[in-house]
Symmetry: C3
Subunit: 507 residues, 3 copies
Amino acid sequence: MQSTIKFVAPFVVILFLLFPKVIIASEKEEAVIADAKLSPQTQACIGCHSLFTPGIVQDWLSSRHSKTTPSDALKKPALQRRVSADIFPDELSGYVVGCYECHSRNPEKHKDNFGHMGYRINVIVTPNDCKTCHPVEVKQFSESKKAHAIKNLMENPVYHTLVSTITGVKKIEKGKIISEKSSEETLHETCLGCHGTKVDVRGIKKVFTKMGEISVPDLTNWPNQGVGRENPDGSLGACTACHPRHGFLIEVARKPYTCGQCHHEPDVPAWNVYEESKHGNIYSSKGSTWDFSNVPWKIGQDFKTPTCATCHNSLLVSPDGNMIVERTHDFGSRLWVRLFGLIYSHPQPRSGNTTVIKNKDGLPLPTTFTGEVALEYTIDKSEQDKRLDKMHNVCTGCHSTDWVNGHFAKLESTIKEIDEMTLAATKLMEEAWGKGIEDKTNPFDEPVEQMWIRQWLFYSNSIRYASAMTGAPDYTTFKLGWGELTNNLINMRDMIDIKEENKRKTK
Amino acid sequence: MQSTIKFVAPFVVILFLLFPKVIIASEKEEAVIADAKLSPQTQACIGCHSLFTPGIVQDWLSSRHSKTTPSDALKKPALQRRVSADIFPDELSGYVVGCYECHSRNPEKHKDNFGHMGYRINVIVTPNDCKTCHPVEVKQFSESKKAHAIKNLMENPVYHTLVSTITGVKKIEKGKIISEKSSEETLHETCLGCHGTKVDVRGIKKVFTKMGEISVPDLTNWPNQGVGRENPDGSLGACTACHPRHGFLIEVARKPYTCGQCHHEPDVPAWNVYEESKHGNIYSSKGSTWDFSNVPWKIGQDFKTPTCATCHNSLLVSPDGNMIVERTHDFGSRLWVRLFGLIYSHPQPRSGNTTVIKNKDGLPLPTTFTGEVALEYTIDKSEQDKRLDKMHNVCTGCHSTDWVNGHFAKLESTIKEIDEMTLAATKLMEEAWGKGIEDKTNPFDEPVEQMWIRQWLFYSNSIRYASAMTGAPDYTTFKLGWGELTNNLINMRDMIDIKEENKRKTK
Amino acid sequence: MQSTIKFVAPFVVILFLLFPKVIIASEKEEAVIADAKLSPQTQACIGCHSLFTPGIVQDWLSSRHSKTTPSDALKKPALQRRVSADIFPDELSGYVVGCYECHSRNPEKHKDNFGHMGYRINVIVTPNDCKTCHPVEVKQFSESKKAHAIKNLMENPVYHTLVSTITGVKKIEKGKIISEKSSEETLHETCLGCHGTKVDVRGIKKVFTKMGEISVPDLTNWPNQGVGRENPDGSLGACTACHPRHGFLIEVARKPYTCGQCHHEPDVPAWNVYEESKHGNIYSSKGSTWDFSNVPWKIGQDFKTPTCATCHNSLLVSPDGNMIVERTHDFGSRLWVRLFGLIYSHPQPRSGNTTVIKNKDGLPLPTTFTGEVALEYTIDKSEQDKRLDKMHNVCTGCHSTDWVNGHFAKLESTIKEIDEMTLAATKLMEEAWGKGIEDKTNPFDEPVEQMWIRQWLFYSNSIRYASAMTGAPDYTTFKLGWGELTNNLINMRDMIDIKEENKRKTK
């Protein structure tokens, strides 16, 4: 420790030289930061980092964390409270939530903990660290499908095959396409960009920085903020996926762009459908005048139309404070049916870890290829009704009961029709497999198979999403909707015939 | 009536308990609502609905309707007036435009009128109701193509076949694709989402609400706000398509997101082309600082670049108040040529009801399949010139005459070239039909036919739109433009050859 | 001159009548314009144009030009200065930068100079005119690839063939597709809309305006603001491509919509990738509260996440004023590798004029069709390192060194993999050419060739862009990424086989 302090000495000087400037910056942010509220450790962090990574420091200055001590946060009435812990570690409660408060939590669990300028620092702040103040949110999240996003993708043999098929580099050998194993880098930039990477510690390495050479943990698959990231402390998830560093603004999480980063066309077109919907139109036209920071969030007063968070996550009350729906960080907990995720729609799975599922074909999938649901792994009718009721409650914040009933009846009809359309495509696919026109061993790596994928992964998802979100009729008709669904089905039929004829002739 | 009052009694209590809260909410909106200006009936509506659908009430509080009585609206100078009636029914003129004022109009015409808590209420407010204060706008709209949007689509045998082909659920029977009749629900979520549904009354039904069981009209194809909706009072259209409930803000109608809900890629890419244009760029960059509410709308002062409404609808004046162009709610009335709608461009039709047209092939289409225009149903040169002149006037609000001339000359060249490209694709199509490679009986349900559709419905439309809107060069080149137009034509040629050869071999 | 003055006389009267109104307008803009600061000539311009093109005048009133004299602009401290000249022509320095100040520069060089209401006016203000006050920016720009955007496209035989192939009108003659020469109008609306047109003067013509008939230069390919426009004074470029008339707001140039006009999917999806990235999400969520006008631009304080300009152009400083990176108008000068432009990635070319390049095949391309780089025309390792270092500096404004290193290592891996994927597609293409299945004479006009184009022009570009911009994982996976790259490669293989079989059978 002594030796580190020596090393730090010159920075302490810098710290004192710089600190006034930080305060100046914060005045520009119209924030009043009482010096006394910053822990001495955080003051040291800021001393250097306002020189070396000033953007982060400024972003933090714009956060609520930089202005609030946990003990102040607790003083709010229950519904307005943004922390869910009732008690905090002594060393935290009197200081605002600064660099050190977060980056020094649970060092014993953090394989990425390292000595840095005389302090023990974790590179990555994980859900297990955020849990100190936000335990309810972390618990809900940890049980959700999102927390298991890596495993649910990569340990599902069907999806894993799809991942490998599309992300492996291809070479041509004697005219044939040979696919290599997907690289870590490409997995990281594609599927795992959203699902999350496994961040592990390989050891310690030296990096050359503006401050000179320093030693830092050597992390795998870093940087990444995928929602199901596997962290060096063993925890699952990255809160920063939706609450980006270091402003952590609830406003950002509540705006649709955040969800839209991953929930984007063509496979999960939630953002695109929302943007074309009436709700999205009003949001785009008037949203800049609404209050996206208020807790609890008042329907009609703080905002006039929902964003993703309104329906799926946020604590909502009426303008006179009556509870409409409770906050949740289990993003499936208000959903009764799963519109995407695999081939056919199905009741939401019981567990956020979907690898435990076994369907009739013995695969860890919620339905068989022909649509039969693995009922013992999915929620039952009474749970479905309870969840539908929650969502119903959100809608009737603005719409009449009859209106909302009409909406959901239409959605139910669409789900049924789209599952039938998927079955039609699957039947053509089975014909192609049965006749040896394409080879089912890998069900995703030939032309007709690729057409079949589009049918359920792109077009069916789009139509179901648009139906669920009260409509984006142009999207549902031509963009990635019924027009493509029909066109692609017709083309599957034709391509099977052409390939069959070709096969016959070459014999 | 007596019996209803009894039923209502408990709500009267609630009303008195709640009303102060409503006023509190409106203070937050910085609106000063004098109690006296709300009709007693509207007070009763708000009493309950601020409890049961608070979002609607809050939205209405943000509207101009909630703050203005018709008689006040009349006091403005003519150009600033937002109502076009000169006189109002006595019972309306002294109250702000509240729930009851709109939802109780013309009850004798409304099949959807029902007894609700002691009042006779229409579920749907229709153009015929809005006409009370906005007669000029409703008349203009009622004669437009938009008001006839259902009929123009569904009673046009060519388009109707396209609608059926793409929206019917498909089944596979003995390896063949069999298409079922499109369901009401899917029509509603696709084509009729924008064009409008037929909302009829099947009778009265009971629904279970937060207030208990109530009786309401049993409506078909509801909820819907398609622009040509057929209403239970026999009127055509939904003002709410562009002026969404219950804020009715002119600001929303003037922003491009509203038009973009339906005028979206790939078939009507007005929004997408605008977004990529210079006008759209400046709007996105600076639009949040402009005044979208002012009437009349001052070029250069209220806004710096046009949105859709500027060119197609709004009353525009120069900063010193000189009229540039009059307001219109007939959205085609400034247009001389129809860029989309069918296969080839053509002069705008004379009537908003396009089903009256008969072309040389006897079809209700403005051109034949080879491009010959049904001249007696389309506007003549002199009317075209008059309309072009109006649009010219809008453009010269900011651009020099020579600039504008150059722009329109370019558009004319593009229209001509694109019609030639469409003709080329049609010739290939006719070859395929002539050789029996595909079957013209349904001209839309086979692979080459589907390629032909794309040619005129997606790519040709896109290029014409981009040309008309002063450019989105990337869109016109690669997105859905010349690149696709060429690629698809080449592929049509190849696919016809492949299918012909296959046909020959299987003989 | 006498005769012109006579002609102008009535306008002088109008001028005096109108001028007060202009001042009223400017008050609304909260700008205080001292009459004395407008040159007499500019006062005359405004006198008429506030009547005839009021939008332009209002837009100019919102500009910094309308409020600043060159001599005032010089008084700012060096880093805050928005002009790079040290001295100005006497006639300019005391007046704000009005109509006449810009439209009368260098008349002897302007073939588009003409007599207009008693003044000699240039229709087009060119980089050579802007150079009067902004010489450093113009010099940087003039040496960039952007300034040579027409030549680099149209004098590159490979790209020129692609341009002609897609933009020529096609006719069907005896069942064959015959392509005509691309029209000037269509070139203008497609490729040259972004790259720029050649604006030349054919003579003088009369136009009929609201003021009556006037004589103006007869310009070719006008209006156009393409970034590499060839101007009637011989200069290259249009500053208005990014600084649109007549507000010239730095705010617009710094917002991503400006770059997005041309850098849009599917071929150059910079905007689309940004929009889906974390940076883009935060920009969309919070950008409206940031300062896009400040010079120098303070990281973290003026803005929290980068836009295009941040990384590629702007002068950046830390909140306490330390230089992070200097301003540049050579848009490639912070780039070490060229991610798009031709088939394979390669080091940035040495000269902005890429037609000087000769690769091993003798073509003016930076790589051969199989990826070999023309090293003597591209920057060397040490220059690459210098540029990478600049970009590194921008990133470490907010991110740790290790984070940034991890990002760039991932990009490097992706570039390598994508070049391999392109090579695989090229090998299939060469098989098709070698077997006579398609004809290499024009390498872009047949179906498999069109598939090959997509491979490198759409999908490869998209993946490299997404990687470079810290990710848009959904884009990289399914939108135009690995999913399409794989699907299209598989389809190339299949289509070659089908066409080969067809060819064999027809023999």
